[in-house]
Every structure is written in C-alpha cells, then in structure tokens.
C-alpha cells in the first residue's frame, strides 16, 4: 500500500508543482517504494490519457474565419472611432496654437510699435531742437516735407481749436521715412507721426494700448497712417484725429 504522506504529493509532483526539496525526497522514495512507484505510473498514465483525450474538439474553419473577419471589422471601427476624437483634439490644438501664435506675434509687434512711437515722442521732447521746421503755419510746414518724405498730406486749419502747430521734423517708423508734426495742447505736446500704411505692418487704425501714461491713437487715410502720441488723455487725441480727417 502506498504511503499516504507520499501519495498526497504525487499529483503535485507530476504536475511539476512540488518545491525542489520535496521533489527530491519523493523521487528518492519512489526508487524504494514499489507501491508508490506503481501509483505514480498509473497517475502519469491517466494524466497522459486526459491530455490526449482532452484535445478533442476542433473548430470549423468557416467559423474561425468568421470570427477573425468580425474582429478585423470591429477593430477597424474601434480605431476609426477612437482616432476621431484624438484627431479632432489635435486639430483643435493646432488651430489653437496657430491662432495664439498669430495673436501673440501681433500683440508683440503692436507693443513694439507703441514702444517705438513713445520713444521717438520722448526723444523729440527731450531734444534741444525738437522741430526742424518751426512754424505754426500749415502752408510753411507742409511744403517743408516735400522731397523729404515719399508722400504728401493735408494739414487742417487749426483756427478755433485748442491745438497749436509747433512745427515738424522727419522721422522713421519701422525703418520707413515719415513726418512727425508737433502740436501743443495747453501745456502738453503731442507728436503726430505720418507714415505710409505699408510701414505699419497692418497696425494702422487698430486701437493701440496706452503705455507709461502715454496714449497712442491711430487712424488711416488715403494710404497713410497717423499715430498721435502724447501724455494727454484719449479724448484729446480723438479730437486731434477728428481735426486731421475732416472728411471722415
């Protein structure tokens, strides 16, 4: 009769689940105990038989093909569904980044232009000779610019307005030649820069931000762009803008 202690372990031994020490002990025992050895052989024979007998059923080739086909079509659907939102999010992100970049670049260019205008205005105020042509007469100032800037412009009659024309000088905005007219309003000085539209990079007429307590007002007319810069308030700059474009 096989020892109970050993037969308990036979299945685990034949299944390869015994630890190394128990496996070695059992193997040694099997060499000495014919009853346990016979039991082991019988169980192994049954194990083999179950393995062989267990491989019994084969699926139809057609059934297999049908499942495979169905997997492929479902996977395709899954991929197309799962990629749709990803693609949409990516597209939205790309458009978002592009818009933000454009907006950011415009914002930076605008800030750069405002900075340049204010710098020039301040430099003019600080200059010992703020104007190259000193005159309050528009018929003196306007002709002075002929041949100095590649355009001409109209100057309004300032009679009855609080603005006084001080004079003018040539200027450069974005590396383009332009006219700078200096007006006085009460104790304040206002620079009015006039350049060709194409020199402004599309910022003509757009509302420009105030910076360092200076206000900048911009408008366009007849292919020219006007920038009024001063430490006056925005309403005063608007009033000057209205005077400069009587037709509008």
């Amino acid at each position: 009769m096989a020892g109970e202690h050993w037969t308990d372990k036979l299945d685990a031994y034949l299944d390869g689940e015994l630890n190394a020490a128990d496996e070695e002990s059992l193997r040694r025992h099997l060499r000495e105990c014919s009853a346990c050895a016979a039991e082991a052989v019988e169980r192994m024979q049954l194990k083999r038989s179950v393995h062989d007998a267990g491989m019994r059923y084969k699926p139809d080739a057609a059934f297999r093909a049908r499942i495979q086909q169905s997997l492929r079509s479902k996977q395709r659907r899954r991929y197309s569904w799962s990629w749709a939102p990803v693609a949409a999010v990516l597209a939205a992100a790309i458009v978002g980044v592009a818009l933000w970049t454009t907006h950011f670049r415009e914002h930076m260019r605008e800030r750069q232009l405002v900075g340049e205008l204010i710098d020039q205005h301040v430099a003019t105020l600080a200059s010992a000779n703020p104007v190259d042509v000193v005159s309050s007469d528009k018929h003196t100032v306007k002709p002075w610019f002929e041949g100095k800037v590649p355009f001409t412009f109209d100057l309004p009659d300032l009679q009855g307005s609080p603005f006084v024309l001080v004079g003018g000088r040539t200027s450069y905005i974005n590396q383009s030649p332009g006219a700078e007219l200096i007006f006085r309003l009460r104790q304040h000085q206002i620079s009015l820069f006039i350049v060709q539209d194409r020199a402004t990079g599309g910022d003509c007429g757009t509302p420009l931000a105030a910076s360092y307590s200076f206000h900048v007002q911009s408008w366009g007319s007849d292919g020219l762009c006007y920038f009024a810069v001063g430490d006056v308030n925005a309403e005063d700059l608007n009033a000057l803008a209205k005077l400069m474009q009587p037709r509008g």
């Binding site: 109970e4 299945d11 031994y13 299944d15 038989s49």
Partner: protein
C-alpha cells in the same frame, strides 16, 4: 527536473507592446474552442460561447494590462461567459468541497488501470461525466498545461481550491474509468 513532459505554450505569454488583440487572441482560438466545447458539450453552444468570449475580450482589451498573463485573461473571460450562460448556470451545481478527498485514498489496487491500455473514448466519456468545476480544472491543468497559480487566476479561486478540485477530479476520473472498463 520538472515532471512536465510536454510544453505547448509558455505559462505566461507576454505580449510585446503594440501587438493587436487579433495577434494575441487568434493563436488561442483552437484551444479556447476545445475547452468551450468540453464545457458546453455542444457545437452550436460552443460557437456561441467563443463568439461572445471574443467580442467581450475585444471590448475589454483596453483594460487588459500588457505584461500580465493574456492566456489566463482570455480563459477567464471564456469561463465567466460560460458561467453566466444558461448551460453554465445549470452545470455549476454547488459542490461539497469541504470533505476529505486526498486522504480517502483509492481502496482498489491500481493494477486495473496500469495494465490496460486506456481507450481515449473511454477517458473522454469519463471526463464528460465529471461535474463542470472538476472538468474545467482538470482540462486547464492537463490540456492547457496551466500552473496551479494560472488556474487559480483563471477560475478566480484560491490555489488550495485548485489543488482540491484537481485531486477530487482525478479520483472521480479514476473511479469512473475503472467502472467503464468493467462494463
């Protein structure tokens, strides 16, 4: 030295990243079908079971963690699908798994089995006669060559229960084979 004398699949087949569900699941198709047929004992129901298993597995593939045992994962889906089917509900009657089994050693001498060549049809008949919980544990061990741990994972039971079921299944099988041999 391990006593296993055949090896058809590695114990855990780890999928390299990027393998599709089809790449992983189709090589298991024949074997899953074999087990499905053993469980349902009917071709149509086996096909339904496989179809449902693959559909569920594909649907849940995103929850499968790469690097874990894909084979055990598939078998568990098959087995759980079967459990909730009409045939499965009928076949899983409560088992008395508390009594002694291993200690109740065979009273007969083993010669009757040892000396006779085992007829495969007879063994199949004996396997068919086993309660489903014993049949599935035995087939996962002997046909699928799963480790006890892998069977435990597949069936969702502790290792001790796997060992107990295997022991009972084998004892019942031996008795059944002897009985059939005597007929």
């Amino acid at each position: 030295m391990k006593a296993r004398w055949f090896s058809l699949y590695g114990v855990s087949r780890r999928p390299p990243p990027g393998e599709s569900f089809e790449d992983l699941a189709m090589p298991l198709f024949d074997r899953l079908y074999n087990l499905a047929h053993w469980l349902t004992q009917n071709r149509d129901e086996a096909e339904d079971l496989i179809q449902e298993t693959y559909a569920k597995a594909l649907k849940g593939f995103s929850s499968y963690q790469p690097g874990t045992n894909f084979r055990a994962w598939m078998y568990r889906i098959l087995r759980n699908t079967f459990l909730t089917s009409r045939a499965g509900l009928k076949s899983f009657e409560p088992l008395d798994e508390t009594g002694e089994d291993i200690a109740a050693a065979d009273e007969q001498t083993p010669e009757s089995l040892l000396l006779k060549h085992l007829d495969l049809e007879l063994v199949r008949k004996a396997i068919d006669g086993l309660p489903v919980p014993y049949r599935e544990a035995l087939l996962l061990c002997e046909v699928e060559e799963m480790s006890y741990q892998e069977i435990a994972t597949t069936l969702g039971v502790p290792m001790g229960t796997v060992m107990s079921r295997l022991s009972r299944a084998r004892r019942a099988l031996r008795e059944s084979v002897r009985k059939l041999q005597g007929e």
